[in-house]
Symmetry: C2
Subunit: 477 residues, 2 copies
């Protein structure tokens, strides 16, 4: 990662492309385990580039363990870089897709579920929804026979437009809103319309793990921007914008995931100015806006944007009916047109039923009443988790909203072992390394307090502490 | 298109990358309207490539109208290649996304809707579904509080696995099935895991319009395979597989969209052999399998595949509750793993509610009863459309299933004008050019008979015929 970034961007494009080309042929088994690769001279001729470019590509391949050098006979395919399948006689079809690391952790079942930043289903208005659904079918008897428009149900977009104005002083027409199947789809669509291989993207460090994977998958160069309890170092932001000319800065400025930090009002205004000045779009993901404990967070960056340099992603169904998968992206017209095309090609529109169900709850007074109760419940759960953790020397900043604690453990605790043993004992958490674009932050973890109930919080955190103690002591033996 | 294909693939990669690089900077307004571009020598040095490569890139840019040459002063940015926005002071943010042409046609409202290959909502079991939905909430009271797994609801996948075995002699475990939000998402996910820029992909000619856009958007080189009433010319298929080493062949062999043609059994077996021999995946999209008139179509290609060279896409909700957006992809394990990652990054799983609703209908005897009735209704509607068209000299092969007629109009009819005038008169159809990867087939149209009711079929086709007559005669004046 760091390596790639320190390289000059322009010459980088070419040798990286040759690197990809070679790796691609290895992955497709055109060049197999221990095969001798073409000489630098041959490849340079064949591809019509300078030998130095091929040399650089081979150096990087060597460094990444994809090829090895044998005496004077040149470069050979390293066995580790070949795609392995369970059955050797299975057709080799390489995939260009990166792993979704977080989703792998989530697949592990655990009684003490601290890895998913989801709301405990017992805190949701489930019964109420089953009533609503019946109403939806009475109102729209053919709802299942009808496709939504690509942009999303107009009634729902109108309702959101009113909501944004009332709550965030945001003037948005229904045409500037796109309904997506969850906020993750929104990030994915945005990355697809804006990011080409070798484009630079700024990400917070740490950040939402799936966002790292999404932008990586698009072939982006990722430049990390540190986030602190008081926000960003704006000089770092500006210098990165100036130096790397990034396409966009994906940020989560309110009760940030995973840290819980909130970027202050003054920085928000300044960030929008910087975005404009350096022509770097801000992609503001705001899933925790409603999950505050004491007081409402500052207005979204989007509110301060007059020139169309912010795209705003807001997840809504998360707090009431996450199974509906309803989120919204707000964007000014030119980008909206591209988003609509991306959405139309990727799934042709979010199911109308889900939108109509959500609309009827969203438009009712119930939503705000529910959110008030939910905030109290989350605050209590956070308190319980923090109380349990108080006996340790672990360090964290107590968040004022959101669903997670971002905790630094003593470096004496071997993280990988802790994760494995925890899962054995049915406790799950997110290792900080997954939230770090640089894949460092090895002694940090993210614990979510929103999914487990109070008893589970007591018992699960206790188990985790005991485990970490036993590992730390066995280590120091 | 043709141009790109005739170029040698390897050297192509580099000059095409430089082409993209230049175009990209123009689109971002780093180089503006009429700006002089760097000389070939400068750019070759800067990018560390041979001058010939830059020359080729500039030639292609010129050919495509992106740059122009001014006397001896070199290459300049053509004004047409700059991104234009309604407001000139709006931030310029280029999109890399192609248009979804079909979706643009669909956005036009029309009383005589012959452009959408959808089932008339009045033919769907809507009332029945509203009953079912209540049941689903009784059975799964927390269904809205729960995310589906990324792969999809296990109960539904088990049900599909049984169905495939019973109906198509297809042995598939639930783990080899992924639930997607519509068949289009399946094509999109497959294209994302398998196709990299400059990879070659075979598409039928004509084919499903959105598939062309999806593979284009991935930067694929598209090589067309002609489809005839009797299937493909297998020699053409083999020679293309040998020559272009395509990643995949996307095909729709049963009541093909748009032609309605069906690839015969013998060709199906041979195609699977070819796929294996040339390591070219077959992506079999089978949305019309259940929409036959006289007898069931041959078994899917997937049935004959023992080595994992076929991926099978099946849209299910289309015929009962299209609003649910439920489709399935079947694939052998190694590719399934990549598909799951793609799905997890793109939307984290199809909503559980939609899957459960569909499951309960799918598992009931109602489905087959409904399909029987639906087939009769579609057959009748096809008959009406054909009867109306019988007075013309238009040519088509009467399909034995599916939702569309693929019709050749006399070349004297100006197609673009016909489309514009039709839409003015509230008649919509798909111009054949959108279904052609080569963007030719100018005198063909696709008429869907599945959405309009019988009266609308009579009146709408009549309008279309009258229009075409008036245009043909005014043309010949």
């Amino acid at each position: 990662m760091k390596n790639t970034l320190s390289v000059d961007r322009q010459s980088n494009q070419l040798y990286k492309q040759i690197y990809d080309y070679i790796l691609n042929r290895i992955e497709r088994s055109e060049w197999k385990e221990h095969d001798k690769l073409p000489s630098i001279r041959t490849l340079a001729q064949e591809m019509n580039v300078h030998r130095l470019t091929v040399f650089k590509a081979y150096q990087l391949l060597k460094q990444n363990g994809k090829v090895y050098v044998k005496d004077k006979s040149g470069y050979h395919v390293h066995p580790d870089s070949c795609v392995s399948f369970e059955h050797l006689d299975y057709p080799i079809v390489s995939s260009y897709f990166l792993r979704n690391h977080l989703s792998e952790i989530h697949q592990v079942p655990a009684t003490y579920q601290f890895s998913q930043a989801l709301i405990d289903p017992n805190l949701l208005p489930n019964l109420y929804f089953s009533e609503y659904v019946k109403k939806v079918f009475d109102l729209y008897p053919k709802v299942l026979g009808t496709y939504s428009t690509v942009q999303g149900d107009e009634e729902l977009r109108e309702a959101l437009s009113c909501y944004f104005l009332k709550r965030h002083q945001l003037h948005l027409s229904a045409d500037e809103i796109l309904i997506t199947s969850g906020a993750q789809q929104a990030i994915d669509l945005i990355s697809r319309i804006l990011v080409k291989p070798n484009d630079t993207v700024l990400l917070e460090r740490p950040t939402y793990s799936a966002a790292i994977d999404i932008f990586r998958q698009q072939g982006a160069h990722i430049v990390p921007i540190d986030i602190y309890p008081g926000g960003y170092d704006l000089e770092q932001v500006e210098s990165c914008m100036r130096q790397y000319k990034p396409r966009l800065f994906y940020l989560n400025p309110t009760f940030q995931n995973p840290t819980g930090y909130t970027v202050p009002l003054e920085q928000r205004k300044r960030l929008v100015e910087l975005a404009e000045q350096y022509r770097c779009l801000l992609v503001e993901d705001d899933p925790f806006h409603d999950a505050y404990f004491d007081r409402e967070p500052p207005l979204p960056l989007f509110t301060y944007d007059t020139e169309g340099w912010v795209m705003y992603i807001r997840s809504f169904s998360k707090y009431v009916a996450p199974g509906l998968r309803i989120a919204a992206v707000a964007s000014r017209p030119p980008l909206m047109r591209s988003l609509l095309t991306a959405k139309s090609l990727s799934d042709n529109g979010t199911p109308l039923l889900n939108q109509k169900i959500f609309l009827h709850y969203f438009s009712s007074a119930r939503l705000q009443q529910h959110l008030e109760k939910l905030r109290i419940a989350l605050h209590i759960r956070k308190g319980i988790m923090e109380e349990e953790l108080a006996v340790t020397d672990w360090k964290w900043i107590s968040p004022k909203g959101g669903l997670n604690l971002w905790i630094k453990l003593p470096e004496t605790i071997p993280m990988e072992e802790l994760l494995i043993k925890s899962i054995e004992q049915s406790v799950s958490f997110v290792p900080g390394i997954l939230c770090d674009p640089l894949r460092e932050s090895a002694s940090w973890i993210r614990l979510s307090y929103s999914y487990a109930n109070e008893q589970q919080l007591h018992d699960g955190v206790q188990r985790l502490i005991n485990l970490s103690r036993s590992l730390a002591s066995s280590e120091s033996k």
